[in-house]
Amino acid sequence: MAAASGCLFCARPMLPRLCAGLAAGPRSLLRVSAYSTALVVGSAGPSPGQVAASRRSRTSQIARNRRLPGAPRTEKMAVDQYWGNVYPTAAAFNPSSVPLPIRMGYPVKRGVPPPKEGNLELIKIPNFLHLTPPAIKKHCTALKDFCTEWPTVLDSDEKCEQHFPIEIETVDYVSAGPSVRNPKARVVTLRVKLSKLNLDDHAKKKLIKLVGERYCKDTDILTITTDRCPLRRQNYDYGVYLLTVLYHESWKTEMWENEKTEADMEEYIWDNSPSQKNALDTLVRIRAAEKTTEVTKEELLASEIVENYKTTVVALKNEGETENNILQYKESVTKLLNLQALQ
């Protein structure tokens, strides 16, 4: 034993104090140390016969003085005890603390699964013995003091959207290890509906062109995701700055914006388009051929037939070709050119 070997090298006067300290342990240890220090360093040491005898007596003394293991806690548990005192926090499974006859493991052939004593499988798995419903209730009552009520004004999604139009999304990461930092935690996502922003037609079109893919037409939501700064607060500030800049820039009209060609247009506009010119020309020529009264282009434009044609063409170009659209186009063309219904 380390204590015994230490005695050999320590000064004589310290010996009684050490022996007194060891009085708590098995008395054999005291005797051994007393025996070994009685022989001064420099003598030949104990003879083999004496050593063997001392060892045999020592093991029998250890066996006699060995403290028997006490009864497990399960036998001293009351039936109506508070389980939260046995497992107050998350802890590994302890077979002498859990009064259940659990068996776990693959059984041997013609046998049963191994019992819970010394069962490593039961220790390996995470257990929820510390999270029984009464324990959770206790946690909740303790946490209630730190909670505030949800404001009663915000009782529907629309009200939340109306008061808080911008949604900020951040993610916190927890992992097992000595470090709290996770580089993925700096990403910030900003979401806002364009209808909540004060934009006129030109500003809205310009904003959508500026942000490109970040705008979703179906839900009318602009999503800005920032992660270029190392800290979350910096990314949030950058996101808000981007939103501000986009808003102000979209309201300004630059000089080069009046060079917008038809290829840049987001949607089809019928006025001043080739379709309008062609339709009006055709109608004028029809009228001229029939030698009816001269009708001016403005009157033609205002007439219902041309309006009908305009709506169908715009629908076709903007929404794509659907059954409905094509049928309506056919009807408007037949009315325009005064053809009788083709079956």
């Binding site: 302890n94 693959y106 490593l120 995470p126 992992s175």
Partner: protein, 137 residues
């Protein structure tokens, strides 16, 4: 297959029927997640998480350390659980040392490992009178 290319990983070869073997030793590695659990639980092996190598190196050191500190007293492998910052070492010991020595070694291990790894280390200890034999191979 051939007689040469046989798996020898973590397998106790069948003998005369006198070799006592624990549940952990009796099951070769292909039974993990079927009949065995994992000895070390942490989040680093999940998708997109880092630090797996550091945790593994820590695990290896801790196993060797405890094997040496409680020499001859280990009944089975050590189970390591990491819960946020805390390292929980679950060990099953044989009753070969008097309790006061166990307590001292447990305190010594906890203090030394906490200073070494700069995180709280808890040792949850169980004792059994003998090794729990699953079967004899």
């Amino acid at each position: 297959m051939g007689v040469i290319l046989q798996n020898r990983a973590a397998r106790v070869r069948v003998g005369k029927g006198d070799k006592p073997v624990t549940y952990e030793q009796a099951h070769p590695p292909h039974y993990i997640a079927h009949r065995k659990g994992w000895l070390s639980l942490h989040t680093s092996n999940l998708d997109g998480e880092g630090g797996a190598a550091e945790r593994t190196v820590e695990d290896v050191f801790i196993r060797k350390f405890i094997y040496g500190t409680f020499h001859g007293c280990l009944a089975n492998e050590i189970v390591l659980k990491r819960r946020a910052n805390v390292l929980v070492v679950c060990a099953v010991f044989l009753q070969r040392l008097p309790p006061y020595k166990f307590y001292f070694l447990v305190g010594y291990t906890e203090t030394l490992l906490s200073f070494l790894y700069k995180c709280p280390v808890r040792l949850e200890v169980q004792t059994v009178p003998e090794k729990v034999i699953y079967k004899y191979l």
